[in-house]
């Protein structure tokens, strides 16, 4: 088995071959937003730990989170979180075997993209 001859077979086409499509982009964005949220987790857990550790440490963490950079990161976090949530909802719908035809999938994809921006703007307004 280990000595099996390695033939030069053609590889199946991958990402670089395909033209980007709404369905593929919205799918990849789910993965990107989900994984990128680890940055948000670090910030949130750090802030909570700082608050639990005393006023001085809290001031440091709170200063970072409420600075313009912290605001920027948290706003993008909200955008990523809302997108991941809406696309997750779409995923649950897909998993039930519905909405898998291209026109519906593309409509739902636009819904996720627009919806996440709208929800982020609402979040920024409310908070």
């Amino acid at each position: 088995m280990a000595e099996a001859k390695r033939a030069q077979r053609p590889l199946s086409p991958h990402l670089q071959i395909y033209r980007p499509q709404l369905t593929s982009i919205t799918s990849i964005l789910v993965r990107i937003t989900g994984n990128a949220l680890f940055v948000t987790v670090i910030l949130i857990v750090w802030w909570l730990l700082a608050a639990a550790s005393g006023e001085q440490y809290f001031r440091t963490a709170n200063g970072v989170l409420t600075s313009w950079f912290g605001d920027l990161v948290l706003t993008f976090s909200a955008l990523g979180m809302w997108y991941h949530l809406l696309a997750g909802l779409r995923h649950l719908y897909f998993d039930s075997g519905r909405g898998l035809d291209i026109p519906t999938a593309e409509k739902l994809g636009i819904g996720c993209l627009v919806g996440s921006v709208v929800l982020t703007i609402l979040t920024v307004i409310v908070l």
Binding site: V41, I44, V45, W47, A51, N62, D95
Partner: protein, 123 residues
């Protein structure tokens, strides 16, 4: 004596030997997070920006503290499982194992630190 046939024992398990468990647990946690994440965004979001004393008082209330605890637990287990699938897609061999171990440590570590902080804040 076994009453299950060999075929019956293998049905639905696939090559990973765990069947659709992973998929099913992603679905359970995603449904939970549909409710937890909005609640967390608005409770945590309203806490950030307050003063020290106000944050202590806010997180000694049950609702924001319990929402934060549940979001950290369910969210990070969901993250661990999701990131594992991504790692399995792109990384191979020892890199894959190291990354999965790393993500697992990060997830449970963040849960533990977050819960410690929340308990300390609440008491």
């Amino acid at each position: 004596m076994r009453y299950l046939t060999d075929r019956k024992q293998a049905t639905g398990l696939g090559s990973a030997k765990s069947g659709t468990d992973h998929f099913w647990h992603m679905q359970i946690s995603s449904v939970a997070l549909l409710f937890l994440v909005p609640a967390f965004i608005f409770t945590f979001g309203s806490a950030v920006g307050r003063g020290y004393e106000q944050v202590l008082a806010y997180y000694s209330h049950p609702f924001p503290a319990v929402v934060a605890a549940l979001t950290l637990i369910v969210g990070l287990v969901h993250f661990k499982n999701g990131a594992q699938v991504a790692i399995e897609d792109y990384a191979h061999g020892i890199t894959r194992k190291a990354l999965i171990i790393g993500v697992t440590c990060f997830s449970y570590g963040s849960i533990a630190i977050g819960l410690f902080a929340l308990v300390k804040l609440a008491l």
